[in-house]
């Protein structure tokens, strides 16, 4: 972990990770997740595609400083003075996470005991983001009618949209999205991803989206990474993140 640094970059890369790996599982069955290289530029939508159990969520955990990798040669976040991430205390990690990242999760997340509007407002306030943006984001995501409803009273798709809204109003540098459209039909999902991407670019953020559906990101992601799983031995699977297609997205 000594090579994991947060340092001022030349802003070409918002996030750069190289040679990061993590081994998970038990003695009978293990999986080694390897990230030879991952690069996220400002305003980019980076899609990470992989089958279930290939290590997509583990990668998000590591990127969001929730889970420590076993090894990482390089971990560079821009706009921060250099510091050794390995020596960061849990509260400092939380501070870094709060400053750089926002999440849009598959389940929609959200606090069940407050309305969607209050959820979005809470997320904005927590990060010091402007409350005025709430209405606009809600309108663009088609959430006006459910803003005053509690998450439990809305559909899965609306909850996912609300989670995206929560992520956007936090004005992060990188949004980590884990299958944020899984509850929607493919056309709606595609439409939402495009909206999500547009709003992300407008907010000056980058978007790392994890999904198992290749077709969903094809054509709209700037970069697609894919987890390639191979059996190294009877008890060890090796899942390597490979860059599948560079800058594949055609302009809309």
């Amino acid at each position: 972990m000594s090579n994991i640094l947060v340092r001022c970059a030349n802003c070409e890369n918002r996030l750069r990770v190289s040679n990061m790996r993590k081994e998970r599982g038990d003695r009978k069955r293990k999986i080694r997740i390897e990230i030879p290289a991952l690069r996220v530029r400002p305003g980019e939508l980076v899609a990470i595609v992989g089958a279930n159990g290939s290590g997509k969520s583990t990668l998000l955990d590591m990127l969001g400083l929730i889970l420590a990798p076993d090894h990482a040669e390089e971990f560079v976040l821009n706009g921060d003075p250099p510091c050794d991430l390995g020596s960061l205390s849990p509260s400092e990690k939380i501070r870094v996470r709060r400053r750089f990242f926002a999440y849009a999760m598959q389940s929609g997340g959200l606090l069940e005991f407050i309305s969607i509007r209050e959820n979005i407002r809470f997320a904005a306030r927590l990060k010091g983001g402007p409350s005025a943006k709430i209405e606009e984001v809600a309108r663009l995501l088609g959430l006006e009618e459910v803003l005053d409803k509690r998450p439990g009273k809305t559909s899965g798709g609306q909850r996912q949209k609300a989670a995206i809204a929560c992520a956007l109003v936090q004005e992060p540098q990188i949004i980590l999205a884990d299958e944020p459209t899984s509850a929607l039909d493919p056309p709606s999902a595609k439409k939402l991803i495009n909206t999500f991407r547009r709003l992300t670019i407008e907010a000056g953020a980058s978007l790392i989206m994890v999904t198992h559906a290749w077709e969903l990101v094809e054509g709209c992601a700037d970069v697609i990474y894919r987890f390639q799983v191979e059996e190294e031995s009877s008890s060890l699977l090796r899942s390597v993140l490979v860059e599948d297609r560079l800058r594949n997205r055609a302009p809309e």
Binding site: S57, L60, D61, G64, I66, L67, P90, S91, I94, R95, R97, R98, R99, F101, Y103, M105, Q106, S107, G109, L110, L111, E112, F113, I114, E118, F122, A123, R125, L126, K127, R150, Q170, D178
Partner: protein
């Protein structure tokens, strides 16, 4: 940088707590009621402890009689000044007198009325707002007596003093009523006399003059007094006839008893009955009414004064013996007092004293270390039974009187005269009910030292005070035990509910953690929520306590006093203790928050 962020996060969390409580309002209400059910017994039990025992203690504290200590009955010998001074130092007020009470003949009443000594500082008067001015002849009446006589403060009240030390004398006196004491002070028909008047009347009734009160009498004359009267009858009256004798005003109030041993030989055809007064003495003037009562019912009777267990030492020549003093029904024909003032006394011939030999008889008087010694001439008489010494009736009465007071023997006249009454009774008020036990113990020790039952078993409410204090102690221990049990149960209940709440909110807490909420602020979420519920529980418990107090007081009325009582300080302390315990329990349980991994939210 960190502090403003933490404060901001705490503010956000606080608003979230109230939103969560509102959202789960049914669950919140249930929790508040459940906690209220745990806390309510604590308030109710503390209220009962403070109420029941507190009322009893307050009642004792507010009643001056609770602090009063008196000898069980008037002492036979005076108390010494040193001990009385020590008693005064240990007491709030001490009222000393020569006897415990006087029986006064109140104008307009058939029965005697008890009078006890008092003084301006007597707490019984002070607590009831009665002031004795010290001027004029004032008395205080019990409420019952005042009602009986139709008297109120400032009215005139008539009493007739009677003495029978020679010719019966009656002295009418007018008092002014200084006040009336309520039934809580005494339910009896009773009079409280300023101690100077009390002492003066007592002296006057014993035949003395009291110049300070302008009452005439003979100075220093020792009046013969006896412990009872023996009646010698051919036929003993029936119980009904005795009842009729006792119905009128007489110095006796109980039936006589048959007695076999009198110290003198009684004719075979005579039956002897002993009349004893109750806590009183018999004077010569009491004898004729007793004879009259018998005569009225057709009985011929001889009366002989009786002396109870009066032992004297008789020394004559080389012979010395302890003999019981007695009075003969008829005086032998020998001379009684010779020219040198020497009395003639009679012994049984079987007691081996030389006939008509000079001798000395000695006995203890009052609390004098040295006894009284009287020169006598010893004469054997067949009328006296062995072991007894018969003396002339008047001398026997004076010697008996001398047993209970300090006297002087004048060899020139052969007369016994008073050396002063001395203090034989006191009403000592302890400084507080907490000091009562010490005061009683002080008196009791003096009783042990003097081998005197009057002091060994003093009258006081120490038993009642001790019982109430013991009850208070038991209640407190019981309360502490219940608090301990409830406290442990409440502690675990709160900790468990907080822990369960954290598990239930695991998803939300993981989400908040993932959002980057400060860990301390996250910690506040279950902690403050628990405290809010506990505060609600305390409020419910207080309402339950108020309801309990209201209904219990109506179900079990206690002289208008409430069965439960809690001061603001009691409530504050209890609430503080509950909140502190709840804080600790919540803090411990809230540490479970730190075990929540924000990744749980991502992997959900």
């Amino acid at each position: 940088m960190r502090s403003p962020m933490l404060l901001r996060d705490c503010r956000h969390v606080t608003s979230l707590i109230f939103s969560d409580l509102r959202f789960e309002w049914i669950l919140s209400v249930c929790m508040v009621l459940a906690l209220g059910a745990v806390f309510a017994p604590l308030f109710i039990l503390l209220g009962l402890q403070e109420g029941i025992v507190g009322n009893m203690l307050d009642k004792l504290r507010s009643d001056p009689a609770s602090c009063l200590v008196t000898p069980k009955f008037p002492l036979e010998a005076p108390l010494d000044d040193v001990w009385l001074r020590a008693l005064g130092e240990r007491s709030k007020v001490v009222i000393t007198s020569s006897t415990s009470h006087l029986l006064l003949n109140v104008d307009g009443l058939d029965n005697w009325v008890n009078a006890v000594p008092t003084g301006p500082a007597d707490p019984l008067l002070v607590e009831n707002g009665i002031a004795l001015s010290g001027e004029g002849w004032q008395i205080v009446l019990s409420e019952r007596l005042a009602q009986l006589m139709g008297k109120k403060t400032g009215d005139s009240f008539g009493v007739t003093l009677i003495r029978k030390t020679g010719q019966e004398e009656r002295l009418p006196i007018k008092f002014q009523v200084a006040g009336t004491l309520p039934k809580s002070a005494s339910e009896d028909v009773k009079i409280w006399l300023p101690v100077t008047l009390f002492q003066g009347f007592d002296r006057w009734r014993k035949g003395h003059s009291v110049p300070d009160l302008g009452l005439a009498g003979r100075d220093a004359v020792l009046t013969p007094e006896y412990d009872g009267v023996l009646t010698l009858l051919k036929h003993v009256p029936t119980d009904e006839e005795y009842r009729r004798m006792l119905a009128g005003k007489m110095s006796f109030s109980q039936h006589p008893e048959a007695i076999a041993e009198t110290g003198c030989k009684i004719p075979h055809d005579r039956r002897v009955q002993l009349w004893r007064p109750v806590n009183n003495r018999i004077f010569e003037a009491d004898l004729p009414p007793l004879v009259n009562r018998h005569n009225e019912l057709g009985y011929s009777v001889d009366v002989v004064p009786f002396l109870d267990a009066f032992e004297v030492t008789l020394v004559s020549g080389d012979r010395s013996a302890r003999l019981s003093l007695t009075v003969l029904p008829t005086v032998p024909e020998d001379t009684t007092v010779d020219q040198e003032g020497v009395h003639c006394v009679w012994v049984s011939p079987d007691d081996d004293f030389k006939a008509c030999a000079p001798g000395e008889m000695s006995f203890k008087s009052g609390n004098q270390e040295k006894g009284i010694t009287i020169p006598v001439r010893v004469c054997p008489s067949s009328l006296v039974t062995p072991g007894y010494l018969a003396v002339p009736r008047d001398l026997a009465g004076k010697m008996n009187a001398a047993r209970h007071q300090e006297v002087i023997y004048d060899p020139a006249t052969g007369e016994l005269s008073c050396a002063g009454e001395g203090i034989r009774f006191f009403r000592a008020y302890a400084k507080s009910i907490d000091k009562l036990e010490d005061l009683v113990e002080f008196v009791r020790k003096e009783g042990e030292r003097r081998v005197n039952n009057a002091l060994r078993e003093p009258s006081s409410r120490v038993g009642e005070v001790r019982n109430i204090r013991r009850l208070a102690g038991y209640m407190e221990k019981l309360y502490r035990l219940i608090v301990l049990v409830s406290g442990v149960a409440g502690f675990f209940a709160i900790a468990a509910s907080v822990y369960a709440g954290i598990q239930r909110k695991r998803h939300d807490l993981a989400y908040l953690q993932m959002l980057g909420l400060h860990p301390y602020a996250l910690f506040l979420f279950p902690y403050l929520k628990s405290l809010a519920l506990v505060a609600g529980g305390v409020f419910v418990a207080l309402i339950a306590y108020v309801f309990f107090g209201y209904f219990s007081t109506r179900l079990f009325p206690l002289d208008a006093a409430s069965l439960t009582h809690l001061t603001l300080s009691n409530i504050s302390i209890l609430v503080t203790v509950i909140l502190v315990a709840a804080s600790v329990a919540s803090l411990l349980a809230a540490t479970a928050v730190t075990k929540i991994d924000p990744g749980e939210y991502i992997r959900e």
